[in-house]
């Protein structure tokens, strides 16, 4: 083919060297150079290294391959922010080795799962996700509660990462299960920056009274939504579980607006708010369903 004996296509060593240089150019420009710039090493003020228990949870997260179904990064896109919360900042991940942003959302993003649910919710959810969402495809993890965290191993890992811990913290690991560890990890995710409620509903923003009072269609819709999103915490027939019995609640004949605001804003650490997830009509429909329970 090549007539020229000195052509690179006749000289294997030269060819290999040129090929290596060719692939290194882009590598140096987009990976090695940025590595030494400050933009790649940011840290937000509120960020703390993981505690031993949280790290143990994060290790279980990796071992189980949760990253195959869950992302941990919220894009600055309207729908992402409405669904998952404030978009993620580079400085929130300074202690993440490796990053666990993921590339698939078979399940919801977990970047701001911390504080969204009470611990008890996670306990029941890991035992059986289907108890909350019968059609969920998340695998149950009943073995979490049985497996003990390996104290020695965990402390060796803390040392490898140079994360600080006190004697008491080390002692706390004794007897902790993988479930405790996983919940500790879940509850710290996304909490290094102050939470701002996206939409905070107050009385001035809604009707003074339910606009669909006693409407059968609204109650039916409310019931459907309740079954899908609330029954896991408040019980199939609203008899109460992690959250209060809404039957009892309805007995007290609460103001429509109070019920609306509770559903819309939720309670930090206890119940998620639904203001961004449900339209006004849907929330009023749920209010009517609750009213119908008494």
């Amino acid at each position: 083919m090549s007539k020229n004996d000195n052509s690179i296509y006749n000289r294997a060593l030269l060819f290999s060297i040129v090929a290596a240089v060719t692939v290194l150019i882009g590598t140096i420009a987009t990976v090695f150079v940025p590595m030494f710039t400050e933009g790649m090493h940011p840290k937000v003020d509120g960020l703390k290294p993981y505690t031993a228990l949280e790290l143990a949870g994060r290790d279980v997260y990796q071992a189980e391959g949760c990253v195959n179904c869950h992302s941990q990064v919220i894009r600055p896109l309207k729908a992402d922010v409405l669904r998952y919360g404030q978009y993620s900042k580079a400085g929130e991940y300074a202690y993440d080795r490796p990053f666990l942003w993921g590339s698939k959302r078979t399940g919801p993003d977990l970047a701001r799962i911390g504080g969204k649910y009470p611990d008890e919710w996670h306990i029941q959810h890991f035992e059986s996700p289907q108890a909350f969402y019968p059609k969920s495809n998340m695998p149950p993890y009943p073995w979490f509660k049985e497996k003990q965290v390996n104290v020695k191993e965990t402390l060796a890992r803390m040392d490898a990462l140079s994360f600080p811990y006190t004697e008491e913290e080390a002692a706390e690991l004794e007897g902790a299960t993988e479930l405790d560890a996983m919940i500790a990890y879940m509850q710290v995710l996304g909490t290094s920056i102050a939470k701002e409620a996206l939409i905070e509903i107050d009385e001035s923003m809604i009707e003074a009274e339910s606009p669909v009072k006693g409407d059968a269609d609204a109650i039916a819709l409310g019931k459907k939504l309740y079954k899908a999103e609330c029954s896991g915490c408040h019980g199939q027939i609203a008899e109460g579980n992690i959250g209060a019995s809404l039957v009892d609640y309805a007995e007290f004949e609460p103001l429509d607006t109070d019920t609306y605001i509770t559903i819309a804003n939720g309670f930090e650490g206890a119940m998620p708010g639904y203001a961004a997830k449900f339209s006004k009509e849907k929330i009023w429909a749920i209010v009517e369903y609750i009213n119908s329970l008494k």
Binding site: A19, T30, D59, D96, L100, W101
Partner: protein, 467 residues
Amino acid sequence: MNEYQYDYKTVQGFVLSAIFWGVIGLVAGLLISAQMWSADLNFGEYLSFGRLRTFHTNVLAYGLGIGAEFGLFYYITMRLTKKPFVLPKLARLHLWLFNIGVGAAGLSLLIGMNTSLEYAEFEWPFDVAIVILWVMFAINILGNIFTRKEKHLYVSLWYIIATVITVAILYIVNNLAIPATLTKSYHLFAGVNSANVEWWYGHNAVGFLFTTPILAMFYYFLPKSTGLPLFSHRLSIISFWSLIFAYLWTGAHHLVYTPLPDWIQTLAIAFTLFLIAPSWGSVVNGYFTVDKDWSKMSTNYLTKFFIVGITFYGLQTIQGPSQGIRVISSLIHYTDWVPGHVHMGTMGWVTMVICASIYYALPAMYKTTIFSEKIANTHFWLVLVGQVMFSITMWITGIQQGAMWKMTAADGTLQYTFMEGLVRNYPYWQMRTASGLIFVVGMLFFIYNVLMTIQKGKKNLAKLQEA
């Protein structure tokens, strides 16, 4: 040169090992595809989705993909350098260690040794082993090339050299870690940096494990099996250098809209768009090679494997760059669209060309002909139908998912809950399981054909030796 001096036993060993791991990986694939629509199919700790999905991708990438690449690279290199291995015993040891390695590494994922870095999930002891295996491989490949008996380096050898060098760089850098204990290590890079290194690696794993090696096979086996000379030497030069130059800049297209600095994302997207050109350079070269005689498509059973394979590659390399664009990424990223894209590459391009190369190389090594062209044709149509159904169902449900996640009601609140979006996938996920099943049945036809060809070949060699 006497053919018997070539160490074909090692090549054959790799081909059979690749097929073995292929079956295991595919069965795992079928199971996880079903777990996605029925959580009841998660059988306890070791076989739950998160672990098994990692097992599936790794066993197929490292076992089937790299296993076949080892074998066929050895074959191509010996033929093109007109030389037996410089160190045949080393190649044989490489084969044994490869199989032990894939088995042990696969099990390690099931017991939860998982770094959670995509396609670099193995823990550090396995990384060390993989680097050693790669060096063993490189010694024979580069050794043969540097001491070759044929002066000119044919195109396939360029791709082989690029693969051997680049994979080493990628694998070592991304697997740098702080070891804590024997079973656990932490990425040397943290946060955004960790993400940037991982996707530089991840995308180029696609580039240098699923693209350049397959192109090496394509450039060698297409002219061989059709008897038609390669269309353009000059075009292959241009596409080779521009491909290996551009690929390394593009990793951050996997990180669009993440907190990774914008300039890295934008640079990656620009190079991503450019990648269409070198990719299509090879597609065009393939088409025009067969253009000299399109009747080969019907008269030579292997031609269609290569042409359909390179067509999938062509589609893949149009789809890929579009996915990098911000507005498209915002819709399809995180959805099932991406597995649709991935599997057009892995099932349609990679596996198609690997199978065709094996169909050519096996009979050549045994000095015989394929056991049955009819079975090969059945294999072809089944995997084609399976793959197309697979990708189309995933594209549809991916767009639906992306749209449902985005859609807002008139008052600016979200239209759908997460669960409402999830359950809409189930029919498509069920169809995907069916498509996978069709593909696997196709592969069983392939395996049967391979085993029977070997039987036939062994008898033939014995006869030849007697004569």
